[in-house]
Symmetry: C2
Subunit: 242 residues, 2 copies
DNA sequence: ACCTGAACACCGTTCAAGT
DNA sequence: ACCTGAACACCGTTCAAGT
C-alpha cells in the first residue's frame, strides 16, 4: 500500500471533485445578466440576483468581473452581436438602411441597452465589427475622410435617438393604462390645459391618440432615415443608382 | 393680562417660529437636485444627499415628492427650460437648426438628462412648450399631418443621438487618460489587434486620434443636421428660400 | 484557484411620533 | 401641516477564511 490519501478512509468516500472545480464562467454570468435585464429591465439587475440565479454567492462574481459596470459592458456587447448586416446588397442605401433597421430591432428587444449607450464607451469586439461594416458601406458610397465618420455617426445617431423616443412613448402609454382610476382624469385635465397653450401640439396629439404605436414608430423611423440618406446621397461622390 | 401662552415664560424666550414653518419647497428641492446632478452626475444623486444639502432628513422629501423618479422628472423639465428658440428667424431651416443647437448645448451642459430621456415620458410644461415651437417651425415649412410628427421626431432624434455619441466618446477619452500606467499599453495592444481585423475602422481611428473632440463633434452634428434638413426640404411643400 | 460568509457603507421608502 | 428618527429591505464591494 502506497499509503495515505490525505483524508482517511476509502477514495470512494471522498466525492470526486468537479472536473475543473469551477462553477462559473464569464460567459455564463453574462448569459444570466442579459436574461435578467431582458426580463426585469435595468432596475432588476443586481449582483446578488445574478449570483443566486447561478447558485452562488454575490462575492464570487467578482472573481470574474471587476465591477457591475464591467458586467453591463459585457452584456451590451453580447446583444450587439445580434445586429446583422444585410447580405451583400449592391446598393449602399439599401445596405445601410438594412443595417440601421437591424440595429433598431435589437435595441427594441433589449431596451436596457439604451441606458448603457448613454454612459459607456462601448469598445467591445461586436461594436467594432459593426462599425467596420457600416464604414465599408459608406466607403463604397464614396465617402472618405472626416465625412465618412460624420456620415456613419449621422445614421447611428438617428437609430439611437429614434429608439429612445419610441421607448419613452411606449413607457408613457404603459404608465397611463397601467395605473387605476384617477390617472386618466388628471391626465386628461392636464393635457386639456396644455392644449390651450399649445394649439399645434394639441392638434397633433389628438390625431396621434388613435394610432398604433408600432406602425407609427416604424413610419417615423423610415421617414427620418429617408431624409438622412437623401442628404447623404447629395454629399457623396457616387450617387445611388436609381 | 389675557393670560397664558401655552408654554410658560416670556414670549421673547420662545423663538419666533418661521413665517410659514415650512422649510422646503418643490422648487428648492429641484434646485439642489439639479446642482448635485450637474456636479456629481447621475450616480451622485441620492435622497439623503439632497436632504442633507437642505439641512433636513431624507424622509421629509417625501412630503413634496412621491418618489425619486418624480424628482428626476422635475429636474429634467427644469433644465429643459434652458432651451431657447432663436428669435423669430424668417427661414424655417435656420430656426430649426438654432433650436436643435440650443437643445444640444443644454444636453451637453446637463449630461445626466440623457439618462432620463431614455426612460421617462417627459410630459413637463417645458417639454410641451418646446415641442410646440418646433412644430410651428415645421408647419411654417409646409409640413402637416403625420409627416409633421415624423419631421419633428427626426430632428429631435438626431440631437439626442448625437449628444449620446459625443458623451460616450468623451467618457472614453476621460477614462483613458484618467487611469495610471498600464491602461495605455493594454488599450494600444487591444486596438492594434482590432485594427488587423477592421482595416477601415482602423484608418479612421488613426485619423481621429489627433483631433479636437469639441470641434469634431460640432462638425459631425452640423453634418448630420444638414443631411436631415436637406431631406426635409425635399419633402415639404415650401422649399427653403435660397 | 475559486468560492463562502460576513461585514462595511451605503441606498429608497415607510411610518409612527413629535410639534 | 410638516418634519424627525428609526426601521425595513435592499444595494455594490471587500476580504479573510475555507477547500
Amino acid at each position: 500500500m502506497p499509503s495515505s490519501e490525505s483524508s482517511g478512509g476509502s477514495v470512494w468516500l471522498r466525492p470526486e471533485r468537479p472536473p475543473r472545480d469551477r462553477r462559473l464562467t464569464r460567459g455564463r454570468i453574462v448569459d444570466v445578466a442579459v436574461a435578467v435585464l431582458d426580463a426585469e429591465g435595468h432596475r432588476g439587475l443586481s449582483m446578488r440576483r445574478v449570483a443566486t440565479e447561478l447558485g452562488v454567492t454575490a462575492g464570487s462574481l467578482y472573481w470574474y468581473v471587476d465591477t457591475k459596470d464591467d458586467l453591463l459592458e459585457l452584456a451590451l456587447d453580447r446583444v450587439l452581436a445580434e445586429v446583422r448586416a444585410g447580405a451583400g446588397t449592391s446598393d449602399w442605401r439599401d445596405g445601410l438602411a438594412a443595417l440601421a433597421r437591424s440595429n433598431r430591432a435589437m435595441l427594441l428587444r433589449h431596451r436596457w441597452a439604451l441606458s448603457e449607450l448613454t454612459v459607456r464607451p462601448n469598445l467591445g469586439p461586436n461594436a467594432l465589427a459593426l462599425a467596420e461594416t457600416g464604414l465599408r458601406l459608406l466607403e463604397r458610397a464614396g465617402f472618405a475622410g472626416p465625412d465618412l465618420d460624420a456620415a456613419m455617426a449621422a445614421v447611428n445617431d438617428h437609430v439611437v435617438g429614434a429608439v429612445i423616443a419610441e421607448a419613452a412613448w411606449r413607457d408613457t402609454l404603459a404608465r397611463m393604462s397601467g395605473t387605476g382610476s384617477g390617472w386618466d382624469e388628471r391626465a386628461a385635465e392636464y393635457l386639456r390645459q396644455a392644449a390651450e397653450r399649445h394649439p399645434t401640439l394639441a392638434g397633433r396629439m389628438a390625431a396621434t391618440g388613435e394610432i398604433d404605436v408600432e406602425r407609427e414608430s416604424e413610419r417615423r423611423f423610415a421617414f427620418g432615415l429617408g431624409c438622412l440618406l437623401d442628404g447623404l446621397a447629395v454629399r457623396c461622390a457616387t450617387p445611388s443608382p436609381s
